[in-house]
């Protein structure tokens, strides 16, 4: 009867493994977006960047036979997408949200167009680190098979959190994001800082895409993204622009996303489709619970177009 061997414990284990597996793209996209938003700009186009990054990474990995080269190539194209967004947004009377939506559609379309020949070939996968060697149970071994990008993402979120406080670049980013006037009075050019922040944000989002095509699910097709690029933007707001918060929010979101498959695996068949909606319900509930009609959002960068 009990095919998993560990019974009901399979559910938390599956949620744990799922959290790590599903959250990785969210981590990268939301860290990228937190950099961009901290500079006072919103890039809604990250969904397009993510999918284009997935395609680039896959294509380059197929051609070069190196998944890491694929990730680097994805970062480069993500940066280009970010630069285009940032460059257009520096013109007066341009709305960053509208440009973001346009860039998203552009990225999706271009990725599908250029990615057609790569749906068939198989690309090498990114490596993972087996941390479950101590356990004899194959379930635990597979759950603790942590992919390298997740670890990099975790380190990156701590680094960013530290860098926002302790480095010149971090402080400059926060200054520009909080007050364009103060930045100008300091002799900084907000447009340049935002341009670069959007480029870095784009390149990180593309890493999220590379994870999708090179690790999990690990193939390239047109349905590869299920809106991670868009949800990550919401996660940043949810995490109050704090990189460690972004990491935890992504984990929470990933864990909730793994609830449906985990329950299915232990034989809960009734209404498990409903559990697929869990992450979205969770986001809605938390956003409603933590917001207030009479209080403004704490920690929101002052120069964001949504807080102005």
């Amino acid at each position: 009867m009990d095919e998993t061997g560990i019974g009901i414990w399979g559910v938390p284990l599956a949620i744990f493994a799922g959290a790590i597996r599903v959250s990785t793209p969210f981590i990268f996209v939301s860290l990228g977006e937190s950099i961009t938003e901290r500079s006072g700009r919103i890039n809604l186009g990250l969904e397009g960047t993510l999918v284009f990054g997935a395609m680039t990474a896959y294509a380059v990995a197929v051609m070069s036979n190196s998944p890491w080269l694929g990730v680097l190539a994805a970062m480069a194209t993500g940066a280009v997408f970010g630069l285009v967004h940032g460059w257009i947004c520096k013109f007066p009377k341009v709305n960053d949200i509208a440009i973001g939506i346009a860039m998203m559609q552009f990225g999706l379309g271009l990725a599908f167009f250029l990615g057609k020949p790569f749906i068939q070939p198989v690309a090498p996968h990114l490596p993972s680190i087996p941390l479950g060697g101590w356990s004899g149970l194959p379930q635990i071994q597979s759950a603790l098979n942590i992919n390298v990008l997740f670890i990099i993402g975790a380190l990156l979120s701590v680094t960013l959190w530290w860098a926002f406080k302790n480095t010149r670049i971090g402080l400059i980013l926060r200054v520009v994001g909080d007050s364009s006037d103060a930045a100008r009075a300091m002799g900084l050019n907000p447009d340049t800082v935002r341009l670069l922040a959007t480029a870095v944000g784009g390149s990180l989002a593309a890493v999220g895409g590379a994870y999708l095509s090179l690790f999990y699910p690990g193939s390239w097709n047109e349905g590869i993204s299920s809106g991670q690029g868009l949800m990550a933007v919401a996660l940043v707001i949810f995490a109050r622009w704090n990189p460690i918060g972004c990491f935890l929010a992504a984990l929470l979101f990933g864990g909730a996303g793994a609830l449906g498959p985990a329950l299915q695996s232990v034989g809960v068949t009734q209404g498990y489709y409903l559990f697929y909606a869990a992450p979205y319900m969770l986001t809605l509930v938390i956003l409603v619970a933590t917001s207030s009609p009479t209080r403004s959002l704490a920690g929101a960068p002052g120069a964001l177009s949504i807080t102005k």
Binding site: R168, I169, L171, S179, T294, G299, P301
Partner: protein, 516 residues
Amino acid sequence: MIQIRDTPLPRAGKAVGIQTIGMTMRFGSFTALDNVSIDVPAGTFHALLGENGAGKSTLVKCIMGFYHQTSGSLSVDGHEVSVQSPKDAATYGLGMVYQQFTLVPSLTGAENLVINRAHVPAIINWAKERKELAAFMERMPFKISLDRPVSELAAGEKQKLEIVKQLYLGRSFLILDEPTSVLTPAEADEMLGLVRGMTERGELTVLMISHKFHEVTKFTDAVTVLRRGKMAGSGLVKDLTTKDMAAMMIGDVKLAELDTRLPVPADATPILVVSDIKAPDRTGLKMIDIGNLTVRAGEIVGIAGISGNGQKELAEVLAGQRPPEAGSITVKGSLYGATRRETHINNVRFIPEEPLNNACAPKMTVTENLAFRTFDVKREGGDALWLDMKSMRRRAASLISDFKVKTASHSSPIASLSGGNVQRAVLARELTGDVDLLIVSNPCFGLDFSAVAEIRARIMKARNSGTAVLLLSEDLDELLEMSDRIMVMSDGRLVYETPALSADISVIGAHMAGHH
């Protein structure tokens, strides 16, 4: 133009003097600054007086390198220099403290200081920086906490931090743009006294833009007055009276005079009664708590307080923008929830601060904005279904001429008007017709003499004809001039009440500062 860099870099703590010679600035055919020469020797405290649009800010922007003057020159310590940008100005030791704060709200004081340095290390060693900052602050007359985010500092502390920032960056000539506009009298005196001390010790030269004569006479050495872009006069403060300076500032314009204040009858009916209102403030962390506030017909009740002590929230509660958690508001004896219907029946009118954003639709026309109180009622009463554009235009035309609103056309967007004219337009809309209760918030902020006199006269006239007026203001002089009673708001509560006639500024100031 050749870059002249012949002055040695300034030494921190050693004042530099400046001179402008024949400074002229033209924007197209408009001359904003016409041949202005001023001399501010090292170690002096110099005041720059003038109405709005007199060219004060144009002059200082030319000095600071934001504008490039059409002709004329600037000397620092007797050497002619070319200042192309604020960065150039900084190399000569020139710095400016702006009227609106330039500190970054979410950063702490220490972060704000460090990030403004010309050379910031790529990785900031906070332990070391903190030690150096502490040593630097030892030498400063100002005591401020550098570890809290700037957004948590009081206005006075922010202003001091702005000055500290300039000194930290090694500036030895400072332009202060209306530095006391958001401070309490006591804070202002303290701050200017400390600045004065620094100029006397030869550590600093100051050029201060100000509207307030008592500050100029008490703290500064010399004064320059501008009017319509030209020098209207200058001299040592000890040789000039306040009257002389006012005459130089406004020329021969006649100011509107206040009506004689009619006495408030002892049995005047209470119009507005606020009891036990509790509401969260903007941060949601603190509450405002108004025990009892009554405004009777024909009196002006002034609410004094430092900005950020709950006045804005009180105004929002009265305007229906912020739901109270407890308590009641009654107007003319019946409960008042600030719905459009109740406002209309009770003749309640409201002039919030920054009326362009809070009481106007900026992109709609002047005519439409002037009709906001009346567009949905027919002249014979009852709800109107169709807009009567003809009468709207007629009404707008008469209000515009009555209240002397300067606008290019009746159909210009109201956002294209100057601040004083937006204020006049809103006043025209709110004070026309029967007004039983008028709630006004900082009505004269940033306006020039004639507009201020005009607006105060209108409010006084309304009071004399029986309107109950609640005046929230950060300007104590305005409250003393206008009010019958003054109440002080501090930390969300009304902590002190006094009749305006026998009011003692120092007592009011102490309550504003929270000593009660």
